[in-house]
Symmetry: C2
Subunit: 365 residues, 2 copies
């Protein structure tokens, strides 16, 4: 019935044991110079009294925060999005495993730099993960000048040599997917892309455009959209495309989320995915949506998709960051993952009656 008992601290514990604080601390932290018999006594007592070292005291003494910061930029009508949260789930698993804390800051995008300054000068975190990198992102020089270790989820530039990052080969994924559609006879392919201020969206477009150019597909600016990857966006963009004068026969979508909007719009137009219009989505293996292949083996996934688990990326990013914090002098760690191309039910040959004629001068090589 010892309700709200004082939390026992190191001093009390050592008094109870008749040992010095030094010895107790060392016993618990696994130092070799303490007798195993003593250590066992200490550990048992700590367990029994539910002693755990105060986080702030420990971090004041060691200078380590044992925490990683993540900034959730709060744009006007968007907040924490599901891609983001799946990434966090993965990263969080790793942190928990290694005794690190995960700090989340939800702030207006403008204030992000200030958060990093706060993190650094108050010693709140030992490192951060940078989300949604822009081309030539100002955050990188800032973090470097603050001396705060970081890993970028994505890349900020073509070189990408002097910092750690983990990324999917977005250009190749969209290159392959577009090529696959072209192989199926599609010549008028739309791209419902993410926000192109984000570097990854830029790369995806490059992959798409490379195939359009190489194969002489319809290069119509009206076929390309760029916005935040949410369901209503896909719905609206697909609506425009399908109501337009020359609807595409295939659509590439930057995430499963807008892809669901696309399918919804198609249903309203009486079109069936895979037969009337083909759809390929980039699938981050979001845990709460269709098409994340884990488990359900045997089932043909709904979406044909470029697939790469964003949660797995979160895990890996966390690992890379922790490695870097433990051994700060190593070279930057870089990892480029290839997305799988998984065939589902939303792609098929271009319907014969909707083939656009191949321009004469582009028919070959």
């Amino acid at each position: 019935m010892n309700v709200a008992r004082e939390t026992v601290n190191l001093r009390r514990l050592s008094e109870l044991l008749g040992l010095s604080q030094t010895t107790v601390s060392r016993a618990l932290n696994g130092f070799p110079e303490v007798n195993e018999v003593t250590r066992a006594r200490v550990v048992a007592a700590a367990q029994r009294l539910n002693y755990r070292p105060s986080a702030s005291a420990a971090s004041l003494a060691t200078g380590k925060a044992c925490a990683i910061g993540h900034v959730v930029p709060l744009t006007e009508h968007m907040m924490i999005n599901p891609h983001f949260s799946d990434f966090l789930a993965g990263a969080g698993e790793i942190y928990a495993q290694f005794g690190y804390e995960m700090l989340l800051r939800v702030v207006a995008q403008v204030d992000e730099a200030d958060v990093y300054r706060d993190f650094a000068s108050r010693g709140r975190v030992d490192g951060v993960v940078v989300h949604g990198p822009l081309t030539n992102d100002p955050r990188l020089p800032l973090l470097k000048s603050l001396g705060l270790p970081f890993v970028v989820h994505g890349r900020c530039d073509e070189e990408a040599k002097d910092y750690s990052w983990i990324d999917v080969n977005n250009r190749r994924a969209f290159y392959r997917a577009t090529g696959f559609l072209a192989d199926l006879g599609h010549r008028r392919i739309a791209l419902i892309n993410g926000l192109e201020t984000m570097n990854f969206a830029d790369r995806r477009r490059q992959g798409y455009e490379a195939v359009v150019a190489e194969r002489g597909l319809d290069a119509d600016p009206a076929l390309v959209f760029s916005e935040d990857m949410v369901e209503p966006y896909g719905y609206r963009a697909a609506g425009e495309l399908l109501s337009g004068p020359q609807p595409p026969t295939a659509i590439l979508v930057s995430s499963v989320l807008p892809a669901m909007g696309v399918v919804r719009a198609m249903a309203e137009h009486g079109l069936r995915p895979g037969r009337d219009v083909s759809v390929i989505a980039f699938d981050d293996s979001l845990s709460f949506l269709q098409a994340s292949g884990e488990g359900k083996t045997g089932e043909v996934p709904f979406f044909t998709a470029m697939r790469s688990s964003i949660r797995q990326a979160g895990r890996r990013a966390a690992e890379m960051l922790l490695e870097q914090i433990v051994a700060p002098n190593g070279a930057p760690r870089r990892e480029l993952w290839e997305a799988e191309l998984v065939i589902g039910q939303t792609t098929g040959p271009c319907p014969a009656d909707r083939r656009t004629p191949v321009p004469a001068d582009e028919g070959r090589g």
Copy 2:
């Protein structure tokens, strides 16, 4: 060019100013007994040198962590789900506003109790938010015995008097929605519910069942499902329902996520929502999905829905928790919100050819 300059601490700052640490500290923390001229000098210097008090030192000295903990239970095939993350986004806004940190722990559900013990004994947080309350949830007595302030998102029991919570009137929402469908002539209504170990799902079912009983609707256990609220679940459940011998004419769905799966299954069966089968979803106003009414005024939402913003709930829960931390002796704070019933495009009168006959003895009250 002062790269990686030592972070300036209170002692250095006070030396530079020719003042004692006491005065500098008080100046920065707004104590009245310091000369305004001095305070201005101090503030200016702090600003210029980018001084901010070390978080761990401050929290060691004050005994306050200035942090709130959230535990993300990691069940077998589910992780951080979008409902959860939208709630976090809301809570995080408030924390940031009041200078609190948000700690996220991603752990196996079994270990949740241990996390709370860790939080408490290491003084990591000043309070926690309890997510996904079960009926008679063991976390509440634990948190009480640990003396850790908390707010529950939802309720754990019928009384719900001796702890703080914020909840939606789930029973009434589902009571109203079911009644609305009955008014439209539907007599065979399915319920695709959340996991009924969760207290909220239980309440939703009660609301549904009350109408079924009162109005003498088909009370077929095959019409009720209970699982984690993800898209594929809705797809699968609706598939079963629609392929069965007596498909329902209306479906209640516990979240927009499975509701999208329901719509997908309907499309495959060649059924149009609102005409062939009515669908009402509980809409948490998830920021990345259709049907969150903010902004897009004038548009008729897709789903007919019971709507209550989970992000707003996150904001409010955070506020309640902070109030409670500041003034620990007040009575528990409780708040029950009513969901709106919003008419969209997915409901309509029961098709004439599919009306089930009203049993003779239940035709009237």
